[in-house]
Symmetry: C2
Subunit: 457 residues, 2 copies
């Protein structure tokens, strides 16, 4: 019996896809940077079936690549000749507990679905990013996804209270508790979160929920410089009791590119060197966050730290300000030759980093253009360069990482490592850390069949 036959025995014929046509949708990343031909796609419908598939793969030494919504950017689901394990059918919300404010969802539940479900109960699942209409629980846990409101709610790891996962030999690891304090041995939950399917396959998770906002205030600000923007962030944090949900930095170059590709979203004032999309939220009945924000901005305007300020006065205006930010992917991936990255810096080093990169890029490729968009509230910069020659991509990519690490930053903030950042891992990650990671990988996946060729150099 072939492995395909044995998979069909486990899952039924309908849930084992083979052949170029049936597996076509699983053979590429949406950016178009990675293409592959999988051996087959297995679509288990339960944790028990995931366990049986992994056991079979481990026995036969078949590489397995887990896949959720396939919205990644770094080749994390590249699966040439591998068995792809789609978690899409594990799409049950197992429990919604509005009193304890937790939700238990399987790996195939779509982020947007979770967000809508929480909203129906006057609660919020905070995680939000561009691909939320497709991204699934298993995927955003595997990369420890971030997004636009990390400044208030933290990354995925901060939202996850417990996981269920299947080890490579089919054993089920049950850490599915919805507790805020739980110290019972080593933190295997956080070891699996962010490991991109290389240590085990997460099948379900418990998340914490937050109270839903009763109102927002959203503004677009022009400012002179980043140190001033950081001071404003701290001031608005203190002045609102930590209610800042987004503090997004769009430099003039971003606004210019936006005006070119999306004139409908052009900056309503002549862009300043620093433009900030700021949102605060309130959960307080009767509170007026707009008035509060206006008061806070008034002082900054008088002091000349803020030179332009537009406050959204309707939900439509608020949506438009968000669209300016959310158009980032659309206006970034416009040409075939680009170097897109995902660095993070200590909050006080962004300015220095961007000045350094501006200089470095000109040195490497005087004709290259750059595009910057940043979650300033959490130090995460998406720095994109458009080289004039493909041969310059590698040195540019290396410089982007090198300068971040020099300033105490990271070359991989929220998109995961996948394939594309493996050379950077080799160059910049602490070698002792890499050695420990390899030890753990070898201990948990001795045959190396779980998402091979990802994360570790």
């Amino acid at each position: 019996m072939t492995i395909i036959d044995r998979l069909r025995d486990i899952l039924g014929d309908a849930h084992v896809l083979t052949g170029a046509e049936d597996t076509a949708a699983f053979g590429k990343e949406w950016t178009g940077h990675y293409h592959w031909t999988p051996l087959a796609v297995a679509r288990p419908g339960s944790t028990a079936e995931v366990a049986e598939v992994l056991k079979l793969a481990n026995e036969t030494g078949t590489p397995v690549v887990p896949v959720g919504g396939n919205t990644g950017l770094n080749g994390g689901t590249f699966a040439e000749g591998a068995l792809m394990l789609s978690l899409a059918r594990l799409n049950r919300v197992r429990e919604f507990n509005s009193e304890a404010r937790t939700v238990t969802a399987e790996a195939g539940v779509i982020l947007q679905t979770l967000r809508e479900l929480a909203a129906e109960h006057d609660l919020m699942f905070p995680l939000t990013f561009g691909a939320q209409g497709s991204a699934m629980v298993g995927g955003f846990l595997s990369t420890n996804a971030g997004g636009s409101n990390v400044v208030r709610y933290g990354v995925t790891r901060a939202l996850c209270l417990g996981v269920e996962a299947v080890l490579v030999d089919g054993r089920v690891l049950n850490l599915l508790t919805g507790l805020h304090k739980d110290n019972t041995g080593y933190d295997l939950r956080d070891l699996l979160i962010g490991s991109e399917g290389t240590l085990a396959v997460i099948t379900a998770a418990v998340f914490r929920l937050a109270p839903a906002a009763t109102g927002h205030a959203t503004a677009l600000l022009g400012m002179r410089d980043l140190p001033g923007a950081l001071r404003l962030l701290h001031k608005v944090q203190a002045g609102t009791g930590g209610a800042v949900e987004a503090f997004e930095f769009m430099p003039r170059t971003y606004m210019e590119r936006l005006a070119h590709y999306r004139p409908d979203l052009a900056c309503p004032f002549p862009p300043e060197p620093v433009n900030i999309m700021l949102e605060i939220a309130t959960t307080i009945p009767g509170d007026d966050p707009g008035a509060r924000l206006e008061a806070l901005l008034g002082e900054a305007l008088e002091a000349g730290e803020v030179t332009e300020a537009i406050l959204a006065t309707s939900e439509a205006q608020r949506r438009k300000l968000w669209e300016m930010r959310e158009a980032a992917a659309e206006i970034t991936f416009t040409e075939p030759l680009l170097v897109d990255t995902d660095v993070a810096l200590p909050l006080d080093r962004l300015d220095e980093y961007l000045a350094t990169m501006h200089r470095r890029l000109a040195e490497i490729d005087p004709g290259a253009r750059e595009l910057v968009i940043a979650h300033l509230g959490d130090g995460n910069i998406h720095y994109t360069a458009y080289p004039t020659d493909e041969a310059l991509s590698a040195p540019i990519r290396a410089a982007i990482a090198e300068e971040a690490v020099k300033l105490g930053g990271t070359f991989s903030a929220e998109h995961g490592v996948g394939i594309s950042k493996r050379p950077t891992m080799a160059a910049h990650k602490d070698p002792v850390a890499l050695a420990v990671m390899k030890t753990i990988k070898a201990a948990l996946d001795p045959k190396g069949i779980l998402n091979p060729g990802k994360v570790l150099p």
Copy 2:
């Protein structure tokens, strides 16, 4: 050369303590439950010295027990015949960054020192618990300590951005970054946090800081039942934008014991079945949290959900309300025969748990008394039983854990596992999780010399 001689070569004579007299202070836990005679106490003054000591211990197969402020409760520093590694001399604050709002502190820095340093910069290091005047960075990281304001700021893990640690063979693991987003391979930081010195020795860490509060409102409330208290918690969270810093549950039995042992701290009203010490904080200049809290409580009083309410009107009154809560250890450890525990439940199951335990305790030992104090905001209950016969301690301890686990809870919330909870780990922790932990332990500490006999059954 003996190992003692070699240690003296590395550290100098003054920093290697031997003999009953010199090591006496290191030979017991403060509760008096554990006593031991260490081989010696090594007091390295730098990460490099920690590395040399560990390398020597690993080569010679000498067990090593790291120790900080020695404020633990579960025998985590029990070190019969072992080399104790005191981190107290690693007491430098390496960097305080008020712009990025991070602090980098070595393992021997005392929690209270960190809190005071942050306060000098108008910032706050949130972690707070009874032993903060002695507890050190390395210790509270090793147990992933909790405390009274986890409801707002999370446990130690949520406050730590990066660590530096020494592996058993002396290699230094440098993960000392102050980043809010960093996904560069497996989360070794969180693997070490909470591992109680059994995988590596943490020598320094970067922590995030929060804005300092400009004002507090603190109240003591009498309420009928726990479901009502949970509703009030959610209401105050929404009504203050998440400003609840403490929501501590002191049942009538606690108040009665408090009145007996500390009449100066007796409850100012006839205790209700549920008494809550509630504190909210504000960072908003000019904000009046007292007025806000009064308004929120007014509705609950009218609705009869809150039957008694006392609002602190001075800092002295506020301190007194906190002392009622902080006297917990003092009024708990009053007699030699007791079973003190540290469970946590999903927020909506505390009521059911306490009712079940009340019945179970009476079944096992009809004459036993119980004492309950709980961080209601995070589900953490310190349930203490006073058996009439030592032989009943074990079945009582077993029941406390068993009933917590049955309701989706944990038998170890914030005090760590140490020695005392190892049998409970064996009985209740997911066996697959235990197997994975043992695999990781064997991979990182092949000779098993790091804090042997702790955490894992």
